[in-house]
């Protein structure tokens, strides 16, 4: 939560700077965010490759555990498709790209604003921050009525870090590993799914 607040502060101060309009033109150029995105993707890649604990965890897992991220991916897209009925202003492809952040708001919003538009990037930022916040607030209720996987399902990619404590508290210790595993898999998939939906979905 503290991390989220810090990032929101950076984003908000950026907005204020932008509104004030007292910026050297060179800062506004999209070239910067392009290069910064490349750096971010490289670093995110290193994080995945260097994380040996996670790789051991994935290797040690029963096949059954893959059902959890698979169910979350299918469920997220199915649910987002339903929500598209209430969002006539957005293309289904755009809604799916936003949903494909699975709560990983920093990376997904930046990729989307770079590949698609800043407006949709902000939708992704809001939507995925909401996913994290709603999860933090509702895990006890979700687990009570929808079983021990419900908190992980709601958390999506955040189930490996920000929402992990509350999930393992309410779903039980034995679900901590599933939660971690699920978050790792979804986190790895986010950049691929988002770019895929935006770029390949356009052609269909």
């Amino acid at each position: 939560m503290k991390g989220t607040l810090i990032l929101i502060t950076f984003f908000a101060s950026g907005i204020l700077l932008g509104i004030s309009g007292n910026l050297p033109h060179i800062l506004i150029s999209s070239v910067w965010s392009n290069y910064a995105l490349y750096v971010l993707m490289f670093l995110a890649g290193i994080g995945i490759g260097a994380d040996r604990k996670s790789w051991h965890l994935i290797r040690a897992m029963h096949v059954k555990i893959f059902l959890v991220p698979a169910g979350i991916i299918i469920g997220t897209f199915a649910g987002a498709t339903v929500s598209s009925l209430f969002l006539p202003a957005l293309h289904l492809r755009e809604i799916l790209a936003v949903a494909a952040g699975f709560g990983y708001y920093s990376l997904s919003s930046i990729i989307i604003s770079d590949l698609h538009s800043e407006a949709l990037g902000v939708v992704a930022l809001a939507s995925n921050i909401f996913r994290e916040m709603i999860t933090l607030l509702t895990v006890p209720l979700l687990v009570k009525y929808f079983g021990n996987l419900a908190g992980i399902a709601s958390g999506g990619a955040t189930s490996m870090d920000t929402t992990l404590p509350v999930i393992s508290k309410y779903s039980g210790k034995e679900y901590t590993v599933i939660s971690l595993f699920n978050g790792i898999i979804l986190t790895i998939l986010v950049p691929f799914l988002v770019t895929f939906i935006l770029k390949v979905g356009k052609l269909i």
Binding site: G14, L17, I19, L23, G75, A89, E118
Partner: protein
């Protein structure tokens, strides 16, 4: 798109090679945080200087909220079925 994914893959390979040193992950986490802060600030600047987005910030937030509700409901529903079918009978 291909460039982005290739850059990320080269990062993964770099990480696999240098992951044997615990320091790699530590430094990388710090750099990643800094990169995310800078990028979100740049996104904020781009948003702030775009009058169209600022004028629609409320509806943009509402759209995000509706998408997140759908995504969460769908995920919970699918995982409920998976839970009942595969996880409960242990």
């Amino acid at each position: 798109m291909v460039i982005i994914l290739l850059i990320m893959l080269s990062g993964v390979i770099f990480g696999i090679v240098f992951g044997r040193y615990p320091l790699t992950l530590k430094i990388n986490d710090k750099l990643l945080n800094v990169a995310i802060c800078i990028l979100l600030m740049l996104l904020g600047i781009a948003v702030g200087s775009n009058e169209k987005i600022i004028a629609n910030l409320y509806s943009i937030g509402l759209q995000g909220f509706i998408i997140s509700l759908g995504a969460i409901a769908g995920s919970v529903a699918f995982c409920y079925v998976i839970y009942k079918a595969f996880f409960q009978l242990k």
